[in-house]
Amino acid sequence: MADHAEHHDDHENEISHVASVKTLVGTGGTLLLLTILTVAATKIDFGANINLAIAMVIAVTKATLVILFFMHLRYDRLFHTVVFVSAICAASLFVGFTLMDSSQYQHTNIWHPSEPPAAPVGPRPTG
């Protein structure tokens, strides 16, 4: 956005924010370092859950860097952030709610035709 661009050292473009070379290379380099870090972290055994947590923290950090700097969201309209964060919240709810009730499912029983399930217990529904 034009009014944001003035706050930045690169303001050659009047339509949209121009990312500086320093920002781009810095972000790219950090992402590569974090990739090396996440691979290295799996070589060390902290226990399955902690290893998973470390990998996810690094992945979220990387994702945040991509969104803020490569995708310019830091300099973009607030409304775009609202749109995108809403989508991430919806996705998190989707995953979270599925996990919450995942233990409520019974195991699927596939009955063989020759061994039908036993008759249900209780009174037969009338009507």
């Binding site: 399955a48 990387k62 599925t98």
Partner: protein
């Protein structure tokens, strides 16, 4: 944009690509950008369905993930992560170049991004083709030739083509090619057509001249499915023939016929259903699994098969094993493997055993997630080629670079999804 509206386009100070229904370049850009952000939000939701499948399965069947992820090569995953991050950098740089009217730099950035996308798909192709070759696939196509540790598995159909299957004998030319023995040459247990030959296989160390130096480790492989269980699992018998003993179905393991390397096995001739059975003119064939992994040097171990019957396999080939066969009595035949294994390689083999039940689900999820992601990469290639052509034509200007920006945003979301897929699929501890 200073932008007065220019209906003629192409001259004045405004890009000819500014559509007349927008107030100015800023208006057009903002509209497009809002559109692409809505699309990206949709993409997040789109992929979240697959992440739900992933998480749910991982919660319930963690053992599948810790077993099957070893089929995936961290090296390829990490290289692809780096390739995508680098291409994200060049995509972001392309936007900057377009904003600053640096045409040459813009073309270079777009070309590098496109090349990286090709590189990503090439690496994916290498990974996928390896899995197709080894039958490490989704759903009912899951019938792996090797365990994640590189150990040979006897597959349900024993159809591992070429490399990993059986020693291969051509009955006509009496030479090993890559298939199997003809079953009639072996002491087959006819109850178990299509399943098992009664051979014991040993490994012998040999020197360069083929001289035997003694048993190699493992000296012999006796570990295999009990005949009775195999018969039941193949739905052929409820009692073990000859023993009269009633067998309990529950005794059958869930994945019955995963057997280690060197296990003789019948390769069914699958031309017609009739040919799969004895006596119908078919030729069920026998092969011996010999190859570990995907390696090159297999010089100093020889595989020998010793079968039950004196009339058993007499490899008729005239290859390197002929001196072997003549010195042995009829019941024992030296099998010249299509490949033999070096002792060095044996240490690389991690014994992980057969896959746990439902392992195919990991591969289903893997192929669904990486496949959908791969389709996105392919779409990215098409888009970047289109942008490259337009950039070469000089159609992008500091007041008209929306397509570059929007394509770059799309490309970043592709990168973003891979940032999660990589640790979730490849880096399971």
């Amino acid at each position: 944009m200073s932008g007065g509206h220019d209906d003629h386009g192409g001259h004045g100070d405004q890009s000819p690509f500014i559509q007349h229904h927008y107030d100015d370049a800023q208006h057009q850009f903002d509209s497009g950008k809002f559109g692409i952000w809505l699309f990206l939000a949709q993409e997040v939701l789109f992929f979240s369905a697959l992440f739900v499948a992933y998480v749910l399965y991982r919660v319930h069947h963690g053992e599948i993930y810790s077993y099957a992820h070893k089929w995936l090569d961290v090296k390829y995953g990490a290289i692809n992560t780096a390739v995508l991050i680098f291409s994200s950098l060049t995509a972001a740089w392309a936007v900057r170049a377009a904003q600053k009217n640096q045409k040459g730099l813009l073309i270079a950035c777009l070309a590098v991004t496109c090349a990286c996308a090709f590189g990503f798909l090439t690496i994916k192709y290498i990974e996928y083709s390896h899995k197709v070759h080894e039958h490490i696939l989704f759903g009912r196509y899951f019938d792996p030739c090797v365990s994640p540790g590189g150990e040979e598995l006897l597959t349900k159909k024993n159809l591992c083509p070429g490399s990993k299957g059986s020693v291969v004998w051509d009955e006509g030319s009496a030479k090993p090619t890559e298939g199997c023995f003809e079953a009639s040459k072996l002491d087959l247990d006819t109850r178990l057509a299509g399943v098992q030959a009664d051979c014991e296989v040993t490994l012998v160390k040999v020197d360069e001249t083929g001289k035997e130096l003694g048993p190699a480790s493992p000296a012999s492989v006796t570990n295999r499915c009990p005949d009775e269980l195999l018969a039941i699992l193949n739905g052929e018998h409820d009692t073990a023939a000859g023993t009269g003993k009633e067998l309990v179905k529950e005794a059958a393991p869930k994945f019955p016929c995963w057997r280690p390397a060197y296990q003789p096995a019948v390769c069914p001739d699958l031309t017609t259903p009739e040919q799969r059975t004895h006596g119908a003119g078919g030729k069920p064939q026998v092969g011996i699994l010999v190859e570990f992994g995907d390696h090159e040097e297999r010089e100093d171990i020889k595989v020998k098969a010793k079968c039950k019957d004196a009339t058993a396999p007499k490899p008729l080939d005239a290859l390197a094993v002929s001196h072997e066969t003549q010195s042995e009595h009829l019941g024992q035949a030296a099998i010249h493997p299509a490949h033999v294994v070096t002792t060095h390689e044996e240490h690389e083999i991690e014994s992980l055993g057969p896959p746990p039940e439902h392992t195919s689900m990991f591969l289903t999820i893997y192929f669904a997630m990486t496949g959908l992601h791969g389709i996105h990469v392919f779409v990215g290639i098409v888009v970047f080629i289109w942008l490259l052509i337009r950039a070469i034509k000089g159609q992008f200007t500091p007041d008209y670079f929306g397509p570059i920006d929007f394509a770059a945003l799309y490309w970043h979301i592709v990168d973003l999804i891979w940032i999660f897929l990589f640790p979730l699929l490849y880096l399971i501890h």
